[in-house]
Amino acid sequence: MSKQNNCDVFEKAEQSLETREYSIGEVLKQRGVSRRDFLKFCTAMTAALSLPASFAPSVAQALDEVKRPTLVWMNFQDCTGDTEALLRAANPTVGEIILDILSVDYHETIMAAAGHQADEALEATITKYKGKYLCVVEGSISMKDDGVYGCTSGKTHLELARKVCGSALATIAIGTCAAYGGIAAAVPNPTGAVGVKEAVPGATVINLPGCPCNADNLTATIVHYLVFGKIPAMDSKGRPLFAYGKRIHDNCERRPHFDAGQYVEHWGDDAHRKGFCLYKMGCKGPATFHNCPTQRYNEKTSWPVASGHGCAGCSEPQFWDTMSPLYRRLPNVPGFGIEATADKIGLGLVAGVGAAFAVHGALNALRKDKEPEETKEG
């Protein structure tokens, strides 16, 4: 790469830094978003954040005035599914535009720059905005053998994560891989994959697990930060309570069928066609905290249970190991082979105990005993 090109990159970076002086409200106006659509978006975000409706004007006012923060998006061991979920929406939304504006600085999948130019853009951003930028991480981080199993531009993801997440204002771990290691961390976890918080314990991390993460929850998290100037309240697993504060089972539209005792027994049976509860088909809604039933995916079109498939529990740590088998209620018992269910083993145990005591009882009935009598040990 020539020196001339280097200068061009820095010039472009400088220009993009200047445009940041516009507020989000102004930028949206430039992009042709009507005031009405903007207010609709603010109301939807207020609802997504579980705030009372009276907060909508405050959200609108804050977004009107707030300066756009810098954001970099790092792709580690991932399938880019969260980026896809964000970009493949049917219609462009205000939320997308907000994220689009936020993510110009660095996003490997969608940025125009490549190679050394991209590296320099990242370097320029994290140096100039040290401690002030937001970082979004997609994908798990390999820890085994000094992290050699995941590298970008010759640096390990571990090294990049320490550098980029370590000096960020906050890091949003988007998707289950970034939050808890996800599928890459499933047994036997050959690369030693972990989530961001485990790889960089010192970083401020907001986990937005899900496979993929719901883009609305990402937007809401960023809006929360823009409106209140701080990260949202989180649960013990580092997930924002507004999105992960309730169990899927407790907000499920099929819950009345669960309480009534109406269950799908086989795929495609009458109960399945009628939309009954998927509990017996191994739905993990009772074990999963996420706002899927209320927030839904793809412009609130649908979510797994609405489309007739049980929840896979994708927003819980180690879901690939702990939620499987996906179509059974209980996990397999370790060490008994994959076909042995807890009930089969339990029945075997009870039958074994019963048989042993039956034999013992028969032998006792046959034997002659000496009655207890007064002995010295009193």
């Binding site: 649960d235 013990s236 309570l241 504060g245 309730k246 169990r247 407790d250 009345p256 069928h257 669960f258 309480d259 009534a260 005792g261 109406q262 269950y263 027994e265 109960a271 009954f276 509990y279 017996k280 993990k284 009772p286 074990a287 999963t288 905290f289 529990g313 819980e316 740590p317 180690q318 702990t322 939620m323 209620r329 209980l330 996990p331 018992v333 807890a342 009930d343 083993i345 339990g346 029945l347 145990l349 009870v350 105990v353 019963g354 005591f357 013992h360 009882g361 032998l363 006792n364 034997r367 002659k368 005993d369 000496k370 009655e371 207890p372 009598e373 007064e374 040990e377 009193g378």
Partner: protein, 221 residues
């Protein structure tokens, strides 16, 4: 000495018997409703029925009764008589207890012919009860942890926080389910041993759990 007279002795105090029978009743209810919750039958005729709802309600009510009963028994082991006391549950800690355990084991294994008489609990049984109480505590903790998930960040959910870091949600369900089968295994053993010692000792082993009185060759001190 088949014609020997025996002494009537008050062994099981009222709280011990109450706790025992509350456990029996609640375990039967919990197991039956628990089986249904784990593998329900589609009894619901319409979406406005509440079959699973009521069965879960019964399960949770019995769970509270069971938890109170187990807790009361643990407290009683600190204030009750020597047969109810906590020391009886650790016979392997004393030389005398170990000797009795070996004697009991030799009788069970058909080595000895003489029936060893025990006034309170038999030392092998108390060892099993100690393991059983551990299972009870695991059952209560996993059960209430699963129950508390309907109200995250509530008092119960928060105070059971350590459980959610020890177990995954599904792991908790599995532990709750497998422990029930282990309690079943214990119950078979327990009923059999009670029957065996009742017919061998002639000390009213079984009726003592109703009346509190046993008949022993040893006189009350």
């Amino acid at each position: 000495m088949p014609n020997q007279a025996k002494f009537k002795r008050y062994i099981w105090e009222l709280p011990v018997r109450w706790s025992h029978w509350t456990n029996v009743l609640s375990i039967v209810i919990l197991a039956l409703t628990g089986f249904f919750i784990g593998n329900p039958v589609s009894f619901g005729g319409s979406a406005s029925d509440f079959t699973m709802g009521w069965i879960r309600f019964v399960h949770f009510t019995a769970a509270y009764a069971f938890a109170v009963s187990v807790l009361s028994r643990i407290i009683w082991s600190l204030i009750g008589n020597e047969y109810a006391g906590w020391k009886a549950f650790f016979p392997f800690l004393t030389a005398g207890g170990r000797e009795k355990m070996v004697k009991m084991l030799r009788y069970y294994m058909f080595v000895d012919k003489e029936v060893p008489e025990t006034v309170g609990h038999n030392p092998l049984a108390t060892t099993a009860y100690f393991a059983l109480f551990m299972l009870y505590i695991l059952m209560i903790l996993t059960g209430f942890s699963l129950y508390a998930e309907h109200a995250p960040n509530g008092v119960m959910h928060k105070s059971l926080g350590f459980m959610y870091s020890l177990f995954s949600n599904q792991g908790m369900r599995l532990a709750h389910h497998v422990s029930m089968w282990m309690i079943f295994g214990f119950i078979i053993n327990h009923i059999y041993s009670a029957w065996l010692m009742d017919i061998k000792e002639h000390g009213s082993e079984i009726s003592s759990m109703f009346s509190g009185y046993k008949f022993t060759v040893k006189k009350e001190k």
